[in-house]
Amino acid sequence: MKTAWFRRSGLFYVPANPVGWIVFLVALVYAVYVFIDIDSRSHSVSDTLINFAFNLLLIGAVYTLIGWLSAKLLRI
């Protein structure tokens, strides 16, 4: 039986399965890594936050794409 990786809650996809949790944790760890990397090269707090916000949006967009594709594949 196929089970959904994520459960959509408003704007976000909440993990609902071990695979979903793995995807979520990978995204979280990557976001932390990106923050540390940007912070080590930036010149001010605003510089860090502006660049990190852009990367965080990209990570969120890719995560949402995975959630949307997993829901779509489940329906097929």
């Binding site: 502006i50 949006l57 949402t64």
Partner: protein, 141 residues
């Protein structure tokens, strides 16, 4: 006396049709909401860039278009993805879903359709705006 099979077919067909129709329509509405979310996430990125360059133009006293133009020319591949390819794909995705809802809802009045899908139409408009902005800046540079 009316044949039993004929009575049964007259009774069950419209009911089955209605149930299938409702099931299909609810499925399409769920997908419409999912695609609205996806579009919102992907459209937020170019909007964030536009807002960032606009704010920089206020503090650094340089032109807004100049900053965005530099980004588009220096980062050709990411700029094309974020301002052209992703918005174009999302426009097609949302447009197809709205078309399906229009037919499954039995060709409703324009006002009813717009009230149901206004968020998706707004997303499509923003995506079109991103594409227009990209090509205007390419044309200017």
């Amino acid at each position: 006396m009316e044949p039993f099979e004929e009575t049964l077919s007259n009774m069950s067909l419209p009911e089955t049709g209605e149930l299938q129709h409702r099931h299909l329509l609810s499925g399409q509405i769920i997908q419409l909401k999912e695609e609205r979310n996806l579009t919102l996430w992907w459209v937020t990125i170019p909007l964030f860039l536009i807002a960032a360059f606009y704010m920089r133009s206020c503090y650094m006293h340089n032109s807004f278009t100049e900053g965005l133009e530099t980004f588009i020319n220096d980062q050709k591949m990411p700029a094309t993805w974020l301002f052209v390819i992703a918005p174009a794909l999302l426009i097609v995705l949302n447009a197809f879903r709205i078309k399906k809802i229009y037919f499954l809802a039995g060709s409703p009045k324009l006002i009813n359709l717009v009230s149901a899908v206004w968020m998706n139409l707004a997303m499509i408009t923003i995506a079109v705006g991103c594409i227009i902005l990209y090509f205007t800046l390419i044309h200017l540079s």
